[in-house]
């Protein structure tokens, strides 16, 4: 105990030694906090899952050399599948085409890809290994598949390895005498990406310059050459419309028709719309719980204040001013709110941890639940705590006012 009595000690003692009296209030606060936190947690987790899924859906459009389209016939990517990377081809174009495509509205991201070569190296994989160059700064199709986000941008000499490529994180592999460090590994994609190694574009040009890397039958790779520009549309933009615009722009800039555009032929809207419906429902439930709890807690607070009239009278007889009594009642309610809030949030986190481990959240939400980051969880907990503290303060305003306005002599004489 401190050398001097303080308000917090007094409030905590009042709560600690009257558990029955305060349990109902704490439970109410815990319920509200759990409700608000759960709503936010579920929304964030579901949205995170959907966003991760969307981010892994690849490009909405791909700009390629016209010959690539011919090459695709019969062997290219299925347009119902996500476009994560283009197929290996020797048909290239200059990356400055980005400037032309960039004029089209509705495009959020653009990133080039360059196929270098394919290797039959059992040490790296039992299957043929494709080597691709990407721009790690603008890439939006490969990095979303990383098992763990990179803790730094891909540096020279570092690679991202497909799921079937041998080698652990930070281990080194050698390609034609060049040593590279595996900075990231990808989740399985069930496509040729699993047997692909991705280098920075500058490393790709360096590697391509080595004699024998690029088949002699293929044109040499010069700096600035790319096989494709992958594009992601602005959210809610109609991909077909954007594709049409890109086609028009390219046709205007390259009338020789040596550049083509591939558009994605499936839509993500039904999934995202389903998930976006969840927050509205959860917010309505949270608002209802808060509104229902407010008068309930106010009644409990009024009952507690009534029960403590003599105590309040005694405090006044000792010299407690009216504002001190007002503060004490409010502060006690706020402490109860904090205790209840922390309990509710803690219980929710524990429950979600168990449910997520059992896979219940994935099946209930029908999306891959992505656990929010610690920072996001802290923010949600802070919001839930802020709401319950606000409710605690607001609901005890009237009881606090009534207590502070009591006549001390009458209050003392009440049983």
């Amino acid at each position: 105990m401190s050398n001097r009595m303080d308000f917090l000690t007094f409030i905590i003692a009042s709560i600690r030694n009257k558990p029955g009296r305060n349990l109902a209030t704490i439970f109410c606060f815990a319920f509200i906090a759990a409700n608000i936190f759960s709503g936010q947690f579920l929304m964030a987790g579901a949205e995170g899952g959907v966003n991760r899924g969307i981010s892994r859906m690849g490009a909405d459009q791909v700009v390629v050399p016209a010959q690539y389209m011919v090459f695709l016939q019969g062997s290219g990517p299925d347009n119902t599948m996500a476009i994560i990377k283009v197929e290996p081809s020797i048909y290239r174009m200059n990356s400055t085409i980005k400037d032309t495509v960039g004029k089209v509205g509705g495009i959020a991201q653009m990133s080039p890809q360059l196929y270098i070569t394919s290797l039959n190296t059992p040490k790296l994989s039992s299957a043929r290994v494709d080597i691709f160059g990407i721009d790690p700064v603008t890439d939006f199709t490969i990095t979303p598949w990383l098992q763990q986000p990179l803790d730094h941008p891909l540096e020279p000499g570092e690679i991202i390895a497909g799921h079937e490529i041998n080698g652990d994180l930070s281990s080194q592999i050698s390609i034609s005498g060049h040593v590279y460090t595996i900075a990231g590994r990808l989740d399985p994609t069930q496509s040729s990406v699993d047997n692909t190694i991705f280098l920075r574009m500058d490393d790709a040009y360096t590697l391509a310059a080595i004699e024998g890397i690029v088949p002699t039958s293929a044109p040499r790779i010069s700096p600035g050459d790319v096989n494709a520009i992958l594009m992601r549309d602005v959210q809610n933009e109609n991909p077909d419309s954007v594709t049409a615009h890109v086609r028009r722009e390219i046709l205007s800039a390259y009338p020789s028709r040596n550049i083509s555009v591939i558009g994605r032929h499936f839509t993500l809207d039904p999934v995202s719309q389903n998930v976006h419906g969840i927050p509205v429902l959860l917010n309505i439930i949270s608002a209802f719980v808060v509104l229902a709890a407010l008068p309930l807690i106010a009644i409990i607070a009024a009952m507690v204040s009534h029960e403590r009239q003599r105590e309040i009278g005694l405090l006044m007889s000792m010299g407690a001013k009216r504002n001190v009594i007002f503060f004490l009642v409010i502060a006690e309610s706020m402490v109860l709110a904090v205790i209840g809030g922390i309990a509710g949030i803690g219980a929710s986190i524990a429950a979600f941890f168990i449910l997520n481990k059992q896979g219940f959240l994935n099946s209930a939400l029908q999306v891959t639940f992505t656990t929010p980051t610690p920072a996001e969880i802290s923010l949600m907990a802070g919001l839930a705590l802020f709401v319950v503290i606000s409710i605690g303060s607001i609901s005890s305003l009237w009881p606090a006012y009534q207590s502070s306005m009591m006549n001390p002599y009458d209050a003392i004489r009440r049983e």
Partner: protein, 243 residues
């Protein structure tokens, strides 16, 4: 120190007006031990309430160190109570959720410049013979022990005036004696005490004694009139309206 002039406290009922205290006069000097005798309902607790600024008089003036506390704003009176007045109630008046020591320290919450430190609370508990029960909660204390703690609490901010409202009303004779001896000691150390009781046996402890009968306050024969206690001839001859 305290001068009460023509103080009246009236309560209106549906049919009539009741005068709990009727035109009372009292002049309390530093170091006095004033005893007010009266039966239940005579108005003595209401009178003490006005003395402590807990009740505002209907008429009259209550001066505490030249300040008219009957017209002071509520917060100023509270400040005065915190710094200069200690109150001991008939019931224990202890807060049940905190220990005896914490109860003693409690008034320091409202009086920042007061001594109010833990060591003083410990000293006071020692003074009232409760140092070994400092960590006990009120529910585990006897009536006498609770009263001792309440007295220690009333003294924590070193008040000029100690007001006691029937502090021995619910105690056995032995405990009552111990508590009154404690009051006597405090008074000898310089604490001014105003106490109400319905027990005429306590008269010998006082330097001056008053009676309160149906709201009327009257001094009984001046200092020393009851010097020989309840068996003294003067007291026996008094026609007090007492139980």
């Amino acid at each position: 120190m305290i001068k009460i002039t023509g103080v009246t406290k009236s309560y209106s009922t549906s049919s009539s007006e009741v005068r709990a205290v009727d035109d009372a006069y009292l002049d309390v000097k530093q170091g006095e031990f004033i005893l007010i005798l009266g039966r239940s309902g005579s108005g003595k607790s209401t009178f003490l309430g006005m003395l402590a600024g807990l009740i505002r008089p209907t008429n009259g003036v209550v001066r505490f160190e030249e300040m008219d506390i009957s017209i002071l704003p509520e917060d100023q009176i509270a400040g005065l109570r915190a710094k200069k007045i200690g109150f001991v109630f008939q019931f224990s008046g202890l807060i049940p959720t905190i220990t005896a020591l914490e109860n003693v320290m409690l008034p320091t919450l409202f009086c920042r410049e007061g001594p109010g430190c833990r060591s003083r609370a410990v000293d006071l508990l020692k003074k009232v013979g409760m140092s070994d029960r400092a960590g006990a909660y009120p529910r585990t204390l006897s009536s006498g022990e609770m009263k001792r703690v309440a007295i220690a609490r009333a003294l924590i901010n070193e008040p000029l005036l100690l007001i006691a409202d029937e502090p021995t009303g619910d105690l056995d004779v032995d405990t009552e004696f111990e508590i009154m001896e404690l009051f006597r000691q405090l008074n000898h150390e310089g604490t001014t005490i105003v106490m109400v009781t319905h027990n005429p046996d306590l008269v010998p402890y006082a330097t001056r004694t008053y009676t309160m009968n149906r709201g009327k306050l009257a001094e009984r024969n001046g200092p020393g009139a009851f010097g020989t206690g309840m068996n003294g001839p003067a007291f026996q001859q008094e026609s007090l309206d007492l139980p």
